[in-house]
Symmetry: C2
Subunit: 582 residues, 2 copies
Amino acid sequence: MRFAVWAPHAERVDLAIRGRNLPMRRGEGGWFSVEDGDAAPGDRYGFRLDGAEPLPDPRSPSQPDGVHGLSEVVDHAAFAWTDQGWHGAPLSAAVIYELHTGTFTPEGSFDAVIPRLGALVDLGVTAIELMPVAEFPGARGWGYDGVDLYAPHHAYGGPAGLKRLVDAAHARGLAVILDVVYNHLGPDGNHLARFGPYFTEKYRTPWGAALNYDDAGSDEVRRFAIDNALMWLRDHHVDGLRLDAVHAILDGSAVHLLEQLAVEVEALQAELGRTLWVIAESDLNDPRLVRAREASGYGLDAQWSDDFHHALHAALTGERNGYYADFGPLSDVARALANVFVNDGRYSRFRRRRHGRPATGLPGDRFLGYLQNHDQVGNRAMGERSAALMSPGRLRIGAALVLAAPFVPLLFQGEEWAASSPFQYFTDHRDPALGRAVTEGRRREFAAFGWSAEEVPDPQDPSTFSRSRLDWSERDRPPHRDMLEWHRRLIALRREQAALSDARLERVSARADDAAGWLLLRRGPLSVLCNVSDGAVRVELGAAVPRQVLLASHEGVEVGGDGIALPPQSVVIVEDLPGATG
Amino acid sequence: MRFAVWAPHAERVDLAIRGRNLPMRRGEGGWFSVEDGDAAPGDRYGFRLDGAEPLPDPRSPSQPDGVHGLSEVVDHAAFAWTDQGWHGAPLSAAVIYELHTGTFTPEGSFDAVIPRLGALVDLGVTAIELMPVAEFPGARGWGYDGVDLYAPHHAYGGPAGLKRLVDAAHARGLAVILDVVYNHLGPDGNHLARFGPYFTEKYRTPWGAALNYDDAGSDEVRRFAIDNALMWLRDHHVDGLRLDAVHAILDGSAVHLLEQLAVEVEALQAELGRTLWVIAESDLNDPRLVRAREASGYGLDAQWSDDFHHALHAALTGERNGYYADFGPLSDVARALANVFVNDGRYSRFRRRRHGRPATGLPGDRFLGYLQNHDQVGNRAMGERSAALMSPGRLRIGAALVLAAPFVPLLFQGEEWAASSPFQYFTDHRDPALGRAVTEGRRREFAAFGWSAEEVPDPQDPSTFSRSRLDWSERDRPPHRDMLEWHRRLIALRREQAALSDARLERVSARADDAAGWLLLRRGPLSVLCNVSDGAVRVELGAAVPRQVLLASHEGVEVGGDGIALPPQSVVIVEDLPGATG
């Protein structure tokens, strides 16, 4: 067994294992290494820099005792994979389901997800996306404060648990996407700076020191991030990565880290013979991220489309606070459906500057569309889902637009049955001062929106976590069962109708009447007509062609002549019949 | 006369003029304005924010009393231009001459440059490039500490002086490039932060606070920079801009400031009917800057090519300290000649990381090549020119390679005659603490290279400035006269031989024998053969074709058969004769 660590500033490094200290040999570029023939999976180890106390391995594959414990030896090759027949799937056909391992099931573990996969397959989901699993402080958390980026969280079941889940998903034809955080490290248990120049003073992120991706010594820091990405894909058989908040990955290099990562993942895809996805969460509205590299883009597979979410959420809820200030009219939803970015260079009131540029020429499947995700739900003071913020009619409209949009749809756990549980912000910091700071920071953040300290759930309180757990029993009861059926039918329709998975945005048109409150999305021969208003509307569609209703949220839809009449807060999907012109 | 200022944080702004305070009216977006029918050119004015003391106009066109004085009313339309027939010239045909207004002549003014323009035309120069002229603290300085970015320095002759110089240059067929600094402001006399959010905490530059180009309120800060660029081109008839250190223009927007600037300058070019150039100094080795916008580049006209300089300087001087650590062998010069970037993704010892990416597909005239410039000379402890650091033979080799390279050549004032004066770092800070800090900072910087405090010239000492002044009298004396003639003949050859201005890099080949010390640059039918070594060399050129010598630095070159023999430290340019193969 070979142990290696990059510690360019250290004079001496020892491997601490089984009560012994093995001096490591300094090699090229600040790497130290040593062979230990006696080491076996399950052994705990650490690195002593210049005689100091043992620190966990920056690339630790497992932290059974948490972020402050020693690392555990893992033999990735020992796992008995059964997914030899799995070769991945195209992202353009995906329906993604985001879940948080800790709250998706009562048990909160990787293994507990497995029995639920069948329900997701029944729903029509093709990929699950796990919120970050890298070891973070404590047992409960969203995962964005991870510090051992190579170690699946011990409370979820560690590396073996994650592998069992991925293997089981593949057995059911489900891909697995992992949320990974390369823009900062959490505040507790982060020892990287003691090993080398992992951080830079050139930039600042909202969450702490910026990782050093372009300053002296950055080659190895870039490798640290990219090797991590490759590790999940190779050793854990993960199919795709969701890169958290890439706008905070600050890199002035001629080859941006994201481009290098996309290049290396493509190479791994060829090597493994499996389709791999790299998807970014980006606040930049910059098409460069997903543009092909031959056209000087970074060549990522896709990015999240927050403008579509914000436009949809603002139109359906009427909310205008925070970033929703930039949105509101239904015509912004139409704009997002046809052009992706609503802020495509226009002035953003929220940002107090112009923002973005047009996504001209890109297909819709370079973007993910959603009505909800962990951020949009959980970053509210009370963590309310859309179902708590809009009528069932509007909720159906939102689901229909997400699932008929030219984007790759993403659902957030429980969305399909309008789960009643909130998804609140929870932490489990063991450092009391840090715990208090998180509690008070959360209170301060929402005091600005008028919430009193008592109203804001305390992230550190275990009940905030348990309150956020899905209650699967409600899934089969009305009205949740009906909402589940609505999602199932929408997903089935998306799979059956080729026009709905055609990503060519030049074939998409969308228009809205803000005063009357309706929106019409056209995708080839299909029309998705939504009435958001509280009154009935009739919309003229132009030529009088025979049309059939494929799906309607309510009774009382009338299709006839050259138009459609819709009851309040309803949506219908109709098809122009073959031979008809229009 | 209308006065306007952007002061979004102010409750009240008054125009202070002729002893009076005129209240300004708040308009859209934080702009205040007022008409003053009595204002006349020459009047002094300032803006009082919320009743405070009058500050100079952030967009002051003239600061006759320096950075702490009031602004002066200027009527740009009043100048009697005589350059109606001037429409600019293509950058690809340019030979650029960088000069510092304060030291180019004994007088140190714009007007004093005019009588010298004839000498530059005689030399073959087609464009002069002025080091920054925007008002900076004191009377002497390089200009990179400017704070009134719209005001030509009063000590140089102010706006009227600059216009007379540009008009005179155009009359002689010379274009004028201006060095402009948009990455930071100088430390003294910078009042911008009192007017609005001109600076951001998101980033840090080596020279002070980063300008806010992508944070809240940044639209107007971007306008401040871009309007400044357009102002020089429109109101002062300047033909091109050299953007200082664009790697420190930190902007995460989907449309980078540089791209927006290039777009707007192109629009102005069409409006004015004059060819305009935007040239960047960049430390990024990123071809994106000069790549066409239709290929997702920023579309700048050109950028400085420091790798070519560093490779050439290191090969000719043997120096390896600082950034020269990345260079040395003649083969790096060959690589720069053929590929532009030497650090094209390879590891940089100086930066301690990989650097750059290949400039594949770009023509050579997107890059400027030079053996010297103000930075490379003046950022040395003693400000020595190349002539003080290498033999006359090697100096001739350097000049030949710059002027036969596929890049747009640039000379630094006095280089053409191997001027004996250094170009040292000089300042004239009136704030004693700041002056001491600059003196001590300079000493500290070079202590690391082994210079004692007494050896390093004091930037604040007026003799450092006067020592850096050109001595025109030496120009006509040997050996300076011979070096001048060498440059004149090289420039003439570049103009006469179409192969030398052919910017297609796929037609350039270069190879070197590091052990033997020779380099061969092929440009179509022309061969530039350099012997850097201290011994005679003979280089085989392949096929035996008839060749004629176009220019040789020394007697004793023998062209015959399939090779050329060169004496030590010499260079020859030969032409394959028509009909010959090879």
